[in-house]
């Protein structure tokens, strides 16, 4: 089960500001969702291997060569704040 403190803590880990109304509403909704998901406890999973992806492929590689043309303007144009060729952000330290 999930507690209100868990929700506050996970919102912090997920870097999301919640209003107190959202905290309350999500507590009810997330409790019922997680409660439903606990149905998996009925399963006997002894000896069952977890599955990460269905294709069965392993280590798909390509040659380490540059294939992009110069697209840095296309990329930078979406930055909320930029200066020359840099994305501008608030002080890190």
């Amino acid at each position: 089960m999930i507690s209100k403190d868990d929700i506050k803590y996970c919102a912090k880990l997920a870097r999301i500001d919640l209003t107190s109304e959202e905290e309350e509403r999500f507590y009810n909704q997330l409790s019922s969702i997680l409660g439903y998901c606990e149905k998996l406890d009925e399963l006997d999973l002894a000896g069952v291997e977890p599955i990460y992806q269905v294709t069965g492929q392993i280590n798909v590689f390509r040659e380490d060569v540059i294939t992009n043309t110069d697209i840095h303007e296309d990329l930078l144009r979406n930055a909320p704040s930029r200066e020359d060729d840099f994305i501008k952000v608030k002080k890190v330290l």
């Binding site: 870097r15 149905k39 399963l43 977890p50 296309d74 144009r77 994305i87």
Partner: protein
């Protein structure tokens, strides 16, 4: 001028070849319909009039000089707004990506544009493809063209409406847990979820990366096949694509699988409590048609079905929480820098302000599941349960060719009916999510209407990479019925 109502790819292509219509005329036909009907229907978030007409003119030049590329050249289509289109806004129906201009096109978009397809615009959907009704779109509602007080389904609701209401010839959608098949069923169009790995996901804004797949909506089965032939194939930009002969997907569809040799599995777990009685009758009648054709109907069991939904939600929420982490107001999208006190506060405030409820719920619960102390109890347990669900299908397909069952437990529900109860919305997906967990191919084909004239689809699921087979099986039903010729009167 030729009759342009409800054209399929084949019919539109024929008209273009015979020069009975030009691509520009066809494109304008759809643009005018969109202008008139989209404010009510909400199928498109944006239309690209200049872009589309430019592509249409290029197509007409090719047709005039006898250099038409192929069956898709000059055919107007639309793309779900979680799929990137270079130089055209892609929002994922979220405010956090308002104004975002993708620097690249998805591989499937590039492929159809290389074939000359004309993209009319971006389709409305649930925000970040998270939802089953398109009510989670941060921009506008989409409405079911068969009953405007009801949802078209989701998350690819806009893409389904665009085809059903004749606002394009075909469209792209995406699936993580049924988001193509369910709206296809609710809107009476054909919708295919290809095998995971069949076509590239490069350019599809990720929700659950081990579950997501891009697929196609069309007015008939042949159209799905025409598009799949173009988009299928290994892509170096998506390492989960598999080298598999694309010629396996035929068009025109061949008749290699005679229906009299077909073994159809009917899973008992899909016909129990909770299934609307009208939906059940329509689906069973559809299966009876195959019996008439000589197919053998075999009762089967997929014993882990009841565990598939909780398994799906645990895995998709965990993967979603990872995939949503990139929306931080730094490299692209909206940013709440002005109100933030420091860098970390930019993340908190941006995501707090611009994410929808579903993104917040999934991020929080997904983070919870993956956190130390809970990882084994929830996420790892779900990964093991997924093994069991997949095995059910592997075992079943050893004895049968395909599985037939309902798509949705109920027909289109009223707008607003499930919006405040996320769990109730999640339970709309019970018949579709298993195919995403197992990574198999599955489609919905129109199978009839309820007393209230609401569409009901038949679901056909097939083994991995057997799209060709299930498309042929679907086409056989189409040839015996008239459902695919019916269109809503709007």
């Amino acid at each position: 001028m030729a009759n342009l109502n409800n054209l399929t790819i084949s019919k539109a292509s024929e008209l273009l070849e015979k020069k009975e219509v030009s691509s520009v005329e066809l494109t304008n036909y759809y643009l005018e319909r969109i202008e008139k009907l989209n404010p009510e229907l909400g199928a498109y978030l944006s239309t690209e009039k200049e872009y589309a007409l430019k592509k249409a003119r290029e197509s007409d030049e090719r047709i005039k000089s006898g250099k038409r590329i192929g069956i898709l050249d000059g055919i107007p289509c639309s793309v779900k707004d979680v799929i990137t289109t270079k130089d055209i806004e892609t929002t994922a129906a979220s405010k956090i990506l308002e104004g975002y201009i993708a620097p690249y096109s998805a591989t499937v978009v590039r492929k159809i544009e290389e074939q000359g397809a004309v993209i009319l615009g971006k389709n409305n959907c649930d925000e970040f493809a998270m939802g089953s009704s398109t009510e989670n779109s941060a921009y506008m509602l989409a409405k079911n063209p068969w009953d405007l007080s009801r949802v078209p389904g989701g998350s690819s609701g806009g893409s389904a409406v665009a085809v059903a209401a004749d606002l394009c010839v075909f469209s792209f959608g995406t699936e993580t847990g049924g988001s193509i098949r369910q709206p296809a069923s609710l809107c009476s169009v054909v919708g295919l979820k290809p095998t995971y790995g069949r076509n590239s996901r490069y350019g599809s804004i990720a929700y659950g990366s081990s579950l997501d797949q891009i697929g196609v909506f069309g007015k008939c089965v042949e159209d799905i096949s025409s598009v799949m032939h173009v988009i299928a194939g290994k892509d170096s930009l998506d390492s989960t694509t598999v080298e598999y002969p694309i010629f396996n997907i035929q068009y025109p569809i061949n008749t290699q699988y005679p229906m009299k040799d077909l073994k159809i599995g009917i899973p008992k777990e899909y016909f129990g409590e909770g299934l609307d009685s009208e939906v059940e009758k329509i689906v069973r009648d559809a299966i009876d048609k195959y019996k008439e054709m000589g197919a053998e109907i075999i009762d089967i069991s997929l014993p882990n079905t009841e565990y598939a939904t909780p398994c799906y939600y645990l895995l998709s929420m965990a993967e979603a929480s990872s995939n949503l982490a990139r929306y931080d107001g730094i490299k692209y999208g909206k940013s709440e820098t002005d109100n933030a006190k420091d860098l970390i506060d930019v993340y908190f405030k941006t995501r707090g302000k611009y994410f929808g409820d579903e993104q917040k719920r999934k991020s929080i619960l997904g983070t919870f599941e993956l956190s130390a102390g809970y990882y084994d109890a929830y996420y790892r347990k779900a990964q093991k349960a997924r093994s069991l669900v997949k095995k059910d299908f592997d075992d079943a397909f050893e004895k049968i060719d395909c599985i037939m069952c309902p798509v949705s437990p109920f027909p289109a529900f009223k707008i607003g009916e499930k919006k405040d109860d996320p769990l109730s919305m999640y339970l709309a997906d019970i018949f579709t999510i298993s195919a995403n967990l197992a990574g198999i191919c599955a489609l919905s084909i129109p199978a009839g209407f309820t007393q209230n004239n609401l569409p009901v689809g038949l679901q056909i699921m097939g083994p991995r990479f057997d799209e060709d087979k299930i498309l042929q099986i679907a086409k056989a039903y189409e040839e015996m019925t008239q459902w695919h010729t019916m269109f809503p009167s709007i």
